[in-house]
Each structure stands twice: as C-alpha cells, then as structure tokens.
Symmetry: C2
Subunit: 347 residues, 2 copies
C-alpha cells in the first residue's frame, strides 16, 4: 500500500504547482460543491493549468450513488483517461465520494485531496478510507485507496462558519484522547480562537498517520480511531433523516465520545473524574442536546450495522486512559442505553 504525500503549508499555490509540474497529467478534473466553488476554487483558479469542474450539491445527504453516477457521467463526457488527475476540493463528503469515484472510474485514476474543512484536514484526507452512504448506512460502499497527495492549507478554514470549525475540532479532541495526554492538557487550557491551526493540524495528522501506518487495513490498532464513532455514527445516521435536527459529523462524534467515555468508566478503564473531565470539556465546545427515549431506541440498532462488528456483537473502541485508546471491547445494548442516559443527565 502506497501512502500519500501530505503537504501541510500556508502556501498551496507553491506546493500544488510544484506537484503538478512534477507529473504529467493528461487532464485535470476538479470536484467541487456550490460552497467550495464559490469560496475555495477562486483561491486556486488563478494558478491552475487547464482543467474542468465537476459540480455536486453540498451535504452528507448527497454522498450517495446518484451523485456518483453524476460524477462518473461527467468524467465520461470529458473522456477523462487513465493518465488524468482528479482534484477533490472540499470537505469529507467531496473527499470520500470524489476519491471513491476516481478509484473506480476505469478501475482507478489518480486523485489528490484538498480538504477545505478542519474535519477533512485532520481526519478524512488521511487513511485512505473512501466511500459513500447507502440506504442510510454511513460509508457503507467504498474502498481503501490512497490519494497521490494531500494539500492542507489553513487558508481554507477562513471559508468556514464556526459550527463547521467546531465540528472538525471534535476529531482533534479525539486524537488527543486516544493517543496524547499532553496534548489533551494543552487543548483544555486553550480557547478555540487562540489556536495556531497549522500546528494543531500537523499534530493531529501525525497521530492519525502514525496509527494508520501501523495498521493500514484496520485489522487491529487502527480501530482506536473509532473512539466516539460507534455511537456517534448511529446518532449521525439517525438525525440525517430528520432535516431540522441534522447534526454535523463532529457534533455527533462529540456526543459519541461522551457516551463512550462513560462506557469506558463503567468498564473500569477510566475514573469517574476522568469521565467528567472529558464530558465537561466537550460541552464547553459543543452544544448540549437532549435525545428522547424513543430516539435512543432507534439509534441503538444502527450500531449493529457498524463495519467494526463481527459475529453480531457490537465492538467498540474505548479509552484505556485519557491519552490511550483500546479496541475490540464488546458492549451490550443495555450499556449503550445507559451511556446515552448519562449524556442526557449531564449539564
């Protein structure tokens, strides 16, 4: 498995131009949504060689087979060949779906990721997980494949509203919780607006890359990256169907991390104080929701479809301590319900 070259610099014009000059692509297609077309594409347009745009609608609900069909049709209409390059300019949806389409068009053309959200900078653009949602299940259809390169420039963060920025910050918190106690302490005393993003992003990506490099196909260690995601994904999937309650990925993961910290506490991995410390810190950044009992009943079965499951048992990534994740922890339905009740009970 070839891993990608990751450029983290405040100067995408330089890094991307050098990269394109070093390769000989026959054509360049750029996948954008209406937001990245308006706010991010103008930051590249001036220095890019000849290219064409493939536009899709923004949002997780568009990350499906219909949109892939549109993308494949556009690639076909432009007679994109195997020596072409696809540039995915956007957040996790564009990166995952555009990467999947590039990886499957004519059995694979080269692609690079230009993540434009904090979430996709620290998470989606590293690790080679590509795919789309299917019948309500997140990332149900996809492949493992690596972009030729990832270009991260914090300039794109200026195009985000504060809700989007916070959503991405959930993954920064997660990386510290599963792998770096010192960074957890550092984050706790900082305000979001006072952070040096280039350094925070580098740190977060280093954690993720180190984990992925050791276990690219998610046979073991890589599963710790799923902390907060088993319950978080189920919550995200559930609310995806309810337009006025739809959550951003990181907002759902924030709830998942609190619930799963509680489970880690119940299993004796972390103390009650550590569980409270995690909950309190997350709730300084993320708005508290109330999840109705009826909703909890609908959310729990969604965890059964999680790709981490084996033999019908729900397998969680939890915390061994603050700063150290573990994985393959069997969790019962009852524990999940109690964990969400705990989340509801805090304030």
């Amino acid at each position: 498995m070839s891993l990608s070259k990751i450029f983290i610099e405040n100067n995408i014009e330089k890094t991307l131009t050098e990269f394109l000059n070093a390769h000989q692509f026959s054509q360049i297609a750029i996948i954008v949504d209406e937001n990245t077309k308006e706010f991010c594409y103008p930051l590249l347009k001036g220095f890019l060689p000849t290219h064409f745009l493939i536009s899709v609608k923004s949002g997780e609900v568009e990350k499906n087979l219909n949109t892939c069909t549109h993308i494949w049709n556009e690639m076909t209409a432009h007679a994109l060949d195997r020596k072409s390059l696809v540039i995915n300019l956007g957040g996790g949806v564009i990166g995952d779906m555009g990467g999947f389409c590039a990886s499957t068009y004519k059995r694979g053309v080269a692609f690079v990721q230009i993540p434009t959200t904090l979430l996709s900078m620290v998470d989606a653009s590293v690790g080679g997980k590509l795919g789309i949602d299917f019948e309500g299940f997140k990332n149900h259809i996809g492949v493992f494949n690596h972009p030729l390169a990832v270009f991260i420039d914090p300039i794109f963060l200026k195009t985000l509203d504060s809700r989007e920025l916070r959503s991405g910050f959930a993954e920064v918190i997660k990386h510290s919780l599963i792998a770096d106690y010192e960074h957890w302490k550092f984050l706790k005393i900082k305000d979001l607006s006072s952070l040096d993003w280039l350094s925070v992003i580098k740190h977060s990506i280093n954690i993720k890359s180190a984990v992925v490099d050791q276990d690219p196909n998610e046979n073991g260690l890589r599963k710790i990256l799923n902390f907060g995601h088993t319950i978080g994904h189920a919550i995200e999937s559930h609310f995806l169907e309810i337009p006025n309650k739809r959550l951003l990925h990181g907002e759902a993961i924030a709830i998942g991390m609190i619930a799963e910290a509680w489970i880690a506490m119940k299993k004796g991995f972390i103390t009650t104080d550590e569980c409270k410390e995690i909950s309190n810190y997350i709730l300084t950044t993320f708005e508290k929701l109330h999840i109705e009992n009826d909703e909890i009943k609908q959310i729990i079965p969604l965890t059964l479809q999680d790709k981490k499951n084996q033999n019908g048992e729900v397998q969680f990534a939890l915390l061994e301590a603050i700063g150290r994740g573990n994985y393959e922890q069997g969790v019962s339905e009852k524990e999940m319900i109690e964990a969400l009740n705990y989340y509801n009970s805090i304030n």
Copy 2:
C-alpha cells in the same frame, strides 16, 4: 498486491471444502443467476456449510449499477460483516460484478470465484479486474482486486451450450496467439470436441497468470492481453444495444482478433499468409457476420472510450508475430475501418 490461489481440479467438493475449513468465515453469501442457480448450484449445495443465495438476472445487460444496488441491498439485509465470504458462482458477469460488489461493500469483504463458463475460467477469474458496465461502456466502473481463491472445475462446462463454449474458446485462441506459437499449432489440428479441457484451461491460465504477475496494474506488458479487444469490445458494445444481434463476448473478440491481425499485417508485423492463417482458423470455429457500413461508423467512435487510450489516441495491442503480442501501437480511424472491411471481405 496479493495474488489468488487458483485450484484447477476435477474435484471442487474437495478443494472448496478444504479451503472453507482452513478459514473462519462468519457468513457465506453465494451470488448466482437463474442459470447457475439451476445448473451449477446443485453441484455445490450438498457439501456447503450454512449460506444464503443472492440471485441476479443473467446477461451482460444486467452488469450495471442497478444490479449492484440489489446485491448490496441483499448483503445489507443479511447483515453481512467483514469476516464474511462472497462466492461468485457464474460466468464473467457474475465474477466481475460480484467481485466488485464484494470489494466495495463495507470497503471490502473476502470473495472467491467459481467460474462456470470456459470464458471466465480462462480469462475473467485471473487478473483481478472487476467491474460493471456504465452508460454503454464496458467495465467502465470497477477496481483491481484479487479473490482469495479461484476454483476451476471443468464439470461446469457440461452446463454450457456450444455457443457459450465457443465464446470462451476465443480467449484460448488469443492466449496462444500472443504468447505461444507451439500451442497455436496444437490448437489448429484439434477439434473443439476432442480437447482435454483441464489441460487446455491450465495452459491458458498459465499464460495469463505469467503476464499478469509481471505487470499486475497494466502499466505495460499486461496490455498484450487486450489483443482483439479494442475493436472487439467496441463491436460487443454496439450490438449490446440491438437485442437480436447481441454477440457473446468471445464472438465479438473473434471478429476483433481478425480485424486486429489485419492491422498487424498492414503495419508489417506479420505476413499476409499469417493474417490469412489466423482469419481462416477463427472462422472454422466462429460464424461469419457482415457488419454494415453504417454500423462500422458507429463502432469506431466506441474504441475512443477504451481504457487503454491516452491523450486521445487509440492504443492497440497487436501481434509482433504469431505467438508474440505487442502493445501501445497507435492505430488510426482509417486503419480500423479498413480492418473491418477486410473482415467483411473474407469468406
């Protein structure tokens, strides 16, 4: 890239049972069409452990995204997990599409191929090319991925009609033409009905495997396997849309090999006599068609969509001699038209 274990034996009960015993699959799904369900599945049913069937309609026209959606839905409905096995029981359509669905469901579950046609035994089950047709373009969407194993048992050839058997034989002829002059001489003096299929299949697979092993991602040498396929695929695609003129893959490739042998002759790679020798032998096995001028005009543009193209030029695999293929031979539209006129002119 891990290549597959290939079992070529007259005893699939033994090879498949040993394989399943050596692995621990949580579930087994078998993809069948109405033909393999009726004629091939009964040969396995008696000795297989617990499993379920996913049924699709037979035929190249079914090798599309709609059928994939059906397969993915069935996998989801049975809560197939990542430790499951998918068995593709059928010809090239089932193997290519079932392999693609398995490779993309939850970013990949294990699969094995049990090819039931001669074509899929000697061709489709070796080499890791998976995919589906899209908007009239053959194998336009897909991935490179290898099955855990391939089980080849000539017992399934008894389930085929003679047209299907001949179709597969086109690939046997191709393998000899591109890589084995001695085998070409051997085939020429044999009648189809007097062949020892186990030995012919082994020989053909050895040629293909040797080529694929040297160039798994089709950057160079592997392209020789496309001999007959640039024009052949275009012909197959064209007639796919005309129900009463639809051709089997090998029937289209037979025409493609004659046309492309003529181009090799025009370029001075083979002699006029060798071109005639190839044409005459192929026409002892395959029925002669007449391709109308109007049809030729529609067929030629379809070669432009071939995955082998770069920078808009149509790149062919041709013959350097009988028994030796070459590749990346630029061919003009005029040469293609003349080649199909040559095909029309012989009798």
